[in-house]
């Protein structure tokens, strides 16, 4: 069974969004499993079908993939956030992403079967699922609009403002590949901003 301490962060996170009663919360707690990753360990790799959503209790995970043969960082995710490959998770198709622990990471794992059974049994969890995927949509839509309408300089400035910690914690060449620029170009951008 879970150490209740493991659920402290996720309970705070969830209760900002929906208000499950005791029975609904117990049903949720029942599907959660704690997991620990060592630095550099993979949570997901290319070719696997992603059947979970994870919640990060502590640490940082890097999402990357090989695009035109080149390793490209897609995102960084840190504590109190959910991480998964939503495309593979929703469609149940093989992923092209790698999820790698950049530090030691403490996670909670929610399996797709368990999530679907919560959706079927409780309106509040179906609602929570909607609100989460709406947030995820807003995140990717904001990034897409940014790519359409802004320069790399503007994208770096916004990234650094939104994730000051990650800029400190993460090697520069990962940030360069996240922005789709060469490391040399990024260091020029950094000097300018």
């Amino acid at each position: 069974m879970n150490d209740p301490q493991h659920l402290e962060n996720i309970e705070g996170f969830i209760k900002q969004i929906v208000q499950p009663n005791a029975e609904e919360w117990a049903a949720f707690a029942d599907i959660v499993k704690a997991k620990r990753l060592k630095k550099k360990e993979l949570l997901l790799e290319e070719g696997q079908t992603c059947n979970f959503i994870a919640f990060i209790n502590s640490g940082v995970i890097r999402e990357y993939s090989f695009q035109n043969g080149k390793e490209t960082t897609v995102d960084f995710v840190s504590e109190n956030q959910f991480i998964t490959d939503y495309q593979s998770f929703i469609m149940q198709t093989p992923t092209m992403q790698y999820l790698e622990a950049l530090t030691d990471v403490d996670l909670l794992i929610l399996k797709k079967d368990g999530i679907n059974s919560l959706f079927d049994r409780y309106k509040v969890w179906e609602r929570f699922g909607r609100l989460i995927i709406e947030r995820v949509f807003c995140g990717v839509e904001a990034k897409r609009k940014k790519i359409i309408a802004t320069t790399h300089e503007e994208q770096y400035r916004d990234f650094a403002a939104a994730y000051p910690q990650i800029v400190q914690q993460v090697p520069q060449y990962y940030i360069a590949s996240y922005l789709g620029v060469t490391p040399e170009h990024l260091s020029r951008i950094r000097k300018k901003t």
């Binding site: 959706f119 949509f137 990717v140 897409r144």
Partner: protein
């Protein structure tokens, strides 16, 4: 139209007749003249729109001209869904490309439907999942594909767009200058002939 909409809703969720009736009651008709704006920069997108007749363009204005984000034609939904969900001001514009007959669904009505039953919650989740998948794909195409690859993908997936839209809007959607689009078209036409 009633039939078309209710059928597409039932494909997603097993709604009761009563729920479908309730949904259809919430749709309000709206007509726009060509070039009229459905959404202006700085406004909150309070309603999502379903195109019955005509077409809409979704874009933002930059220092060097418009950035076209997308289009919607008959049977398709459009809105700044981000602004709609968060009820925050939109940075984008939605304009009628032709005279349009539309139906709208307001944020407040959508919330009332979510309260009404679990099936509407599920409908909202599936809609958001589908929009997420489409947006994520479009984002990675923008990052990874060349303009020529995007042109070929558009030609394959939405050939009707080329009959409905002027060249400069297609160029703006592909993120290139109209001159580059002519060059790409000529290149691709050559490949298709040989």
């Amino acid at each position: 139209m009633y039939e078309v909409i209710t059928r597409s809703l039932r494909q997603l969720v097993d709604f009761t007749d009563e729920e479908l009736f309730l949904f259809m009651q919430k749709l309000k008709p709206l007509k726009l003249k060509k070039h009229e704006l459905y959404l202006k920069e700085g406004q909150v997108c309070k309603k999502m729109v379903l195109v019955h007749k005509g077409g809409l363009r979704y874009f933002s204005r930059g220092a060097k001209g418009d950035h076209t984000i997308g289009f919607a034609f008959e049977g398709e939904w459009l809105g700044d869904y981000e602004s709609f969900l968060l009820q925050t001001p939109s940075g984008c514009i939605i304009e009628a490309l032709e005279d349009c007959e539309l139906y709208t669904l307001s944020y407040l009505d959508m919330q009332a439907l979510y309260q009404h039953s679990q099936r509407f919650e599920r409908f909202g989740r599936i809609m958001a999942e589908q929009l997420f998948l489409a947006t994520a794909k479009s984002k990675s195409n923008l990052m990874l594909q060349t303009a020529k690859e995007r042109y070929i993908a558009l030609l394959t997936s939405q050939p009707q767009i080329f009959e409905r839209l002027p060249q400069h809007l297609i160029a703006s959607y592909l993120g290139i200058q109209p001159q580059s689009l002519s060059r790409i078209r000529a290149d691709v036409a050559k490949i298709r002939l040989t």
